[in-house]
Every structure is written in C-alpha cells, then in structure tokens.
Subunit: 336 residues, 2 copies
Amino acid sequence: MSSNTVHVAILGATGQTGGVIVNALLESKSPKFRVTALTRPSSLQKPAVIEMANRGVGIVTADLNGPTKDLEEALSGVDIVISTIYGGNLMDEIPLMDASKSVGIKRYLPCFFATVAPPKGALRLRDMKEDILNYAKKLNLPYTVIDVGWWYQVTLPRLPSGRIDYAVMETMDGIAGEGDVPFAMTDVRDVGKYVARVIVDPRTLNRMVFAYNEVMTHNQLYDLLEGLSGENLERKYVPVEAIRSSISKIEATQPSADSPDFVMLAQYQYWYSCCVRGDNTPEYAKYLGYLTTKELYPDAKWISLESYAQEVLDGNAKRVYEHLQHLAPARAVETK
Amino acid sequence: MSSNTVHVAILGATGQTGGVIVNALLESKSPKFRVTALTRPSSLQKPAVIEMANRGVGIVTADLNGPTKDLEEALSGVDIVISTIYGGNLMDEIPLMDASKSVGIKRYLPCFFATVAPPKGALRLRDMKEDILNYAKKLNLPYTVIDVGWWYQVTLPRLPSGRIDYAVMETMDGIAGEGDVPFAMTDVRDVGKYVARVIVDPRTLNRMVFAYNEVMTHNQLYDLLEGLSGENLERKYVPVEAIRSSISKIEATQPSADSPDFVMLAQYQYWYSCCVRGDNTPEYAKYLGYLTTKELYPDAKWISLESYAQEVLDGNAKRVYEHLQHLAPARAVETK
C-alpha cells in the first residue's frame, strides 16, 4: 500500500448509499482508496459482503454495541470513517464516534446523505442527525456532513403505459400544493463520485456540503417526462393542508425510530420539507452554512435528469432495491 | 436621517452587554446608526431608560408576550434586531424572531454574547441558545451569532491587600485543575465596538463570530497580576472532579431556567467548559464554524488584559454592576 493511499472505513457498505460510495472509492485513481467495510458479526456470511470482499474491500467485524476496545481496533490505521447506517439506528453511531475520536480518525462522516432541511423542527430524522452531529462537535471530532438532495431514482412518476414501472419508485404520492416549489436532485450513482472528492478536500473539513445535480419543480419534472415520453401524465395535486394533517396524525402517535410509522412520518416530512417549505435548495443550504459541489467542483461531470429519464424510457435503468432494506427508509414507502 | 443610516433595535439595552452595544452604536461615525430600545411597558419610566432617551435612543414599547401585530409595528423601519435578553428568558425571543421574519429584518442577532461552547451538552444555557438559533434557521431568518469569550471584568482574582476589591468580580472560585487550559477573554467595553463592525459586515451574515481580545491560562493570568501588583496571590487549585460533582448535584435537581440554581449551574458549567474542556478558544471556535474578529478585523484596536489590570490597580476601573440584574447571570454568582 503506497503512503498516499487513503484508508476509508464504511458502515453500511452494502446499503444503497454505502454501495455507491464503495464503488466510487474503488474506482478512484487519485487518490487511491483502501476500503474497509465495518460489518456486523451476524452479516459476515451475507452474499453482498462476500461479493464486496471479492472486489477488494476489507471486511472487518464491528459490533457497535460491543466493547470500545474492539471498535478502536477495527479502526486501527483508518483515516476516514463514513457512516451510512440505517436511519432508525442513528444513535448507534455514538460508540463509533467515541472510538473514532480516541484513535484519532482524521475525518468522520455521520450518516446524513439526504435532503437539506433545517437542523431542528421540520424533519424528525434530520433532528436525530443533528443530535449526532452535535455529539461529534462536543467531541471535537473532525467531521464532514454531506447531503445529496432527492434521488432521481425515487422521483419520476409512473407513466400511463406502465412502461417505466420496472425502474421507478416514486415516494411522493402526487404533487404537493401547486407543484411550483423547486427542489434539488441527484442521480444516486453520482453520490459516490461526490463523496470521493469531498472526503479528501481540505476545504470541506468540519463543514457541511450539499452535493446535487439539478434543481427543478414538480411541474417542470412532469413537463420533462411528458416531453420525452410523449405520454400525458395525470397531475394529482395534493393540498398542502392534507400533507400537514397526515404529519400531525402520525406525530400524535409518537412513533419510535424503529417503527414503520416512523418511516411513514419521515416520508411525509421529507415531502413537506422539500415540496412545501422549499428547504431542499442550494440557496437554503448556503444560508445554513453548506458548501455546494457546484461551487467546489465546477468541473464535475454529473448525470442530468433528462439523461436519466431517457435511460429509464429506453429500458436501461435499474430500480433501487437495496435501500428498501438498508437505508433511507423515508424514501422507501409510498405515501398512500 | 440620511439614507445610509442603519436602524438597529435592541432588546435589553439597559443591561451590561446591551449598554456597551448602545454606546458603540451611538459613537459610530461610519456607518451612522439609529438606535431603538425595545422596552417593556413596565420599564418605560425607569431612570436608565429615560437616560438613554436623553442620549438620542428611541424608546419603543415591546411586549414580547403581546400581539404579534404590535411587535411588527415596533420593528417598522428597523434593519437589524439585537437581543441581549436575560438568559433565563431566552425563549421569549421566539415572538420577536417571528415578527422580525414577517417584517423582513435584514439581520437578527440572538442573545449569545458569551463563551464558545459546543452546541449541545456542555452548558445548559448554551443548549437553550442553540434552540433559539435553530428556530431562526427554521424561519430562514438572516442572523449573526456573536460570542465574546470571558470578560476581563469578571476574571481578575482579588489581591491580599484588598485594593482591587472595588472593581473585581471573579466568578470562578479558584483555579480549575492545573490552571493550564487557555481561554479567550474580552474587555466588556470592547464588545460594543466589535458588534458595531460585525453587524454591517456582509461576511458575517448567517455566520457565527467569535470576538475576543486575548487568550491566556489561569496561571498566566495570576502571573500577570502578581507581576503588576507586586503581591503574592494564593492559588487555590480546585480538582476537576470537584467541579464535575458540583455540576452533577445541581443538574440532579433539574433547576428551571428562572431559578437561582440555574444561574449557579450555568456558573459551574461555564467554568468547566472554559477551564477544563477548553472550549472557549479560537481554535475550537473555528472548528465549530465561527469567524473570528482577529481574522476579520486585524486593524481593530482593543484593550489588553495588562492594560485593564493596570487600570484596576490604578483605581480607575469600574465594577460591572448592571449585569447582576440584567444579564449573564452565570457570571454573576460566586461559586461558593
């Protein structure tokens, strides 16, 4: 291993976000990354883990609820730790952050990788992430937060013909309000490429970074898909008040973070935050202190929504399955 | 009023921090400030308020618990709002922030003006300030946070001769641990000058700023005072564990924000944060995302601790009385 190889340990490596990050790190030429997947003892024999090992990823056992000493050992020689843990288990990051601090990790990425939202009060999942970030700050742990906006892969609505059903997974059941609130989107496949640049960029140390490809309103998105497909889309406008009411109803039950209702709540709150409040924009991100990939990396190549949509229409896209089980649950449930 | 006059409304104008800010704004030549004191109906006839009016400060009634419409009216034509509210009443800022948002205030300064500390978990008073800041962020309200470190005026220990008792008000009952943790200090009279520059500086919009004069350890501070006074000081080293234990004891009683115990808790937590954890330093401030006045204003004139101490020894200093009643209660109680 050359001395300029950067050693990255990743929690949640077999999830959707973790997976694209691992791919990008393995593909990177400069710098070269050595990648270690922090893996639960019970997952060592999973096919996805074995497949990763075959691709050159180091597999290291890490029990987040086990002894600190073992976690510290798992992080021995690691430069950067990335968490893409399941949202409901965010608090399990605490021991990993403690161990990261004690072994002198150079940069820790807590599990954000979602849309831009206020630190508190709009999205319960984001509130929890803020607690995690605050814990890192109390530790004086070097960190970088990366948010990535809404994925193309969970944004396109179905077509009347049914011909893109194989690939799409819309997580919003219709168009919020008038459909004229812009929100930022990213192709999930680009997430890894952004992460690979951000984590070795001194400008992003102890900062939040917003990685995104395009900003569009729901109406513009429907227009685009109609133009490309030649089909007419029904536009189901959902009154803002109805979304608010769905949120209140679930909130009233105080769902625990590991419950399906929590996932449903997150789903509605994402929708409201992005498409009603308009939080998920570069402007609001900058107000909150984020750097943006557009400004950091004006040279970056990224997939346009149009090009992704054409790929879907051509039958060449892949549905994002994995995150149903592992990650970003808020996007994984249809808001019916 | 010329068009380039900046209209500042201030809450807590008769307090210690509010007072030095009002002075600096009134003294500023460029820009010129128009200053309005947001005043409780019950305080309109107070001597300090009448004295301010005589110095050209506009007095406007503001009842934070009154109708929003009235608050919005009080802020009519105001560019910048500064809150230096009493720490125990921080949550009263919420309606003021709502009104500031609805009338389009260009910049809102929530009541920080204290030491640098992590956003959560080290100082209960700071935790509450973070809640206020998060509320501003949820509103997308343009803001600036200013922290100012520890005041000289509450730092110098007494001398055996008693000759500086007239001026000093040490808030830490001894030296924490080994006395070798550096912390940043500011002459309270400089706070206003820093604020007057920061609030019209576009670089500080939606940012946190750390204004400070000098960084020193407790031992260095005692050395300095011994050298200047020619007296020998007793150094009462307080074990870290004893401070921790005092904090735990008060925390266990869960004091409400308006109780004397809360003030006592804040006192101990400030001490622990500054002198044990070492939070109140430019380095940690930068890690947390603060800009610093040293970097923003390398030309700024400020009073050195040595010069302040000499002033005290010469009998020319003034004790900070007012903040006992109005402000920074955590610094106003001796930790006996």
